[in-house]
């Protein structure tokens, strides 16, 4: 059978992730220092792991309610109430998902009709555009600029909005740039969403990883925005739980019901083991999370200082665990830079254009790696610049 012409056009239309190529090269090399990993280098705190083991010993191996264990949903709504002063009903306004990835996918599928336009600020996480496209939406990329520290502005959004725009999808603190939004700009975006009657999908997975006395504003906490927002979050980044695949969506009961419909037929429920661990994370995980955040902050300052010293222009990222240096002065494209650096100095990172066209000229470096490795990577990048670029 010729499978090539049997793949659905919708799937064929999607480009494979730009990260794949670097993964393939790096995976075959030895002694690679990777600044290319989009997940914490910490292992999940032991008390969280232990609670899962205990759950298994107690025989918790069944399905749960489609929406997730009520106990977990309650802990989630308690957390959001505590941190952002927004009240959600754990019975009607929460859905526990297999990571934010699933939540994003089903949110898109639940709201988009063919041809509906989705505004997506770029650079952005690699799956945003793919999810919107697979759900039948039309992606409208809105480039953000280093001059604005990669924050989206209302003026830029106004240039791209049309009567067909249905959704605005934002992800701050941002992967790959480390950008965070300020309250004033978010307020303006809230007015913009109101004016154009948009649904806002806000991916706030990095909301706890925030530094330099910056305060995260949850989009749903803005005036009149709770009803308009599908708030996505999860446990992967804050509690170092990427492999558990556990996240959640908070929104109006109607959209949560619609998302639950897709979820119940495709996923049924998130794994019970991960749900049990997530309950423990919310009840007792905060101290571990704070320790990790303080460690990331020191690495952030170290890598920022290092990048600037070796001559790469960077704005100061205040969230997530990425730094997004500009490499335009090297005369190389992002992909050339990443590939040459990997082959000559064995440092893996991700070219900025993997996150959208306006990421060209930048590289994403993750500082979710140990300090000695960051220091060694900085030495290697400096060697690379000396020997291959500024000769």
């Amino acid at each position: 059978m010729n499978w090539e012409n049997r793949i659905s056009p919708a799937v064929n239309a999607i480009a494979p992730s730009g990260i794949r190529k670097f993964f393939d090269i790096a995976a075959e090399m030895e002694d690679v220092i990777s600044l290319g990993v989009g997940e914490p280098d910490f292992v999940t705190p032991w008390s969280i792991r232990e609670s899962c083991v205990y759950g298994l010993e107690q025989g918790y191996t069944s399905y749960t309610s489609n929406r997730g264990l009520l106990e977990l949903r309650q802990e989630i709504t308690n957390l959001v109430e505590r941190e952002h002063q927004i009240t959600y009903d754990p019975k009607k306004e929460v859905l526990v998902t297999v990571g934010v990835s699933e939540a994003l996918d089903i949110a898109m599928r639940a709201v988009l009709a063919p041809g509906d336009e989705v505004l997506i600020p770029e650079p952005c996480y690699v799956s945003y555009k793919a999810c919107a496209t697979l759900a039948g939406g039309k992606v409208i990329s809105v480039p953000t600029k280093i001059e604005n520290e990669f924050r989206i502005t209302v003026e830029e959004l106004e240039d791209y909005v049309t009567p067909k725009t249905k959704v605005l999808l934002i992800g701050y603190p941002n992967n790959p740039t480390g950008a965070v939004m300020d309250y004033e700009t978010l307020e303006k975006i809230a007015n913009f969403a109101e004016k154009h009657d948009l649904i806002v999908i806000s991916d706030e997975i990095y909301c706890n990883l925030i530094y330099a006395n910056t305060k995260h504003t949850c989009f749903a906490s803005l005036d009149k925005m709770k009803d308009r927002t599908i708030l996505l979050n999860g446990f992967s980044k804050a509690y170092a739980m990427t492999g558990w695949r556990i996240g959640y969506a908070l929104a109006n009961p109607v959209i949560i019901s619609a998302m639950t419909k897709i979820h119940q037929y495709t996923i049924l429920c998130a794994p019970i083991t991960a749900q049990i661990a997530a309950i423990e994370a919310l009840r007792h995980g905060e101290k571990y999370m704070k320790k990790m955040v303080s460690e990331y902050d020191k690495r952030r300052l170290l890598i920022l200082d290092g990048m600037r010293k070796i001559g790469l222009e960077c704005f100061e990222p205040k969230g997530a665990f990425y730094i997004f240096p500009c490499i335009k002065n090297t005369g190389l494209t992002s992909e050339e830079f990443a590939e040459k650096l990997l082959r000559s100095e064995r440092v893996a990172l991700v070219p900025g254009n993997a996150f959208g066209d306006c990421g060209e000229g930048f590289i994403r470096c993750s500082y979710a790696t140990s300090v000695p490795k960051i220091s060694e990577a900085l030495v290697r990048i400096e060697n690379f610049l000396k020997n291959h670029v500024y000769r």
Binding site: I19, D41, S127, R299, L301, V350, S375
Partner: protein, 159 residues
């Protein structure tokens, strides 16, 4: 300063330029703070935690519960000093509960330790009894897991 101490507690070999960058301070400032902390004896030492068994040395560690009669004016301090001045004593703590002092001793052999206890420790005036336990296997020491099998299992590049 707390942050500086926490960084060093975790890894005493961090170079000053690295510490300065991580704390967003100048190298001069960090050097001055270190000097002050050393002078004030907040930083006592920059020891290295060594797994001697892995190196091939067979050391014997004994944990000894000691009961003493406290002395007027000085309480337990004078007798504690007589104990901790011995090089063999690695650690010494005053305890609440069923005994008074906890002494941790390292020696080359059981005989070494029993000699020390019977001829040096038990004979100190004021010590009324001792009870020795021998350590069989260490699992974790000063926050470090001795034989940690966990490693970085992440893929080399992920989104």
């Amino acid at each position: 300063m707390r942050e500086l101490l926490e960084l060093l507690e975790h890894d005493a070999r961090r170079p000053v330029n690295e510490l300065a960058a991580m704390l967003h301070r100048s190298e001069y400032e960090v050097e001055q703070q270190l000097k002050q902390l050393e002078k004030d004896k907040v930083i006592l030492n920059y020891n290295t935690l060594i797994n001697w068994e892995k190196f091939g040395d067979d050391m014997v560690t004994s944990i000894i519960e000691v009961n003493v009669t406290p002395q007027r004016e000085v309480g337990f301090d004078a007798i504690a000093e007589r104990i901790y001045r011995f090089d063999e004593v690695r650690s010494l703590y005053l305890m609440s509960g069923s005994f008074d002092l906890l002494v941790i001793i390292e020696g080359k052999s059981l005989k070494d330790i029993s000699n020390f206890v019977s001829t040096r420790l038990a004979t100190i005036e004021g010590i009324t009894s001792t009870r020795s336990h021998f350590m069989l296997k260490p699992y974790k020491k000063d926050g470090s897991i001795i034989d940690d099998q966990e490693c970085d299992r992440r893929l080399v590049v992920t989104p």
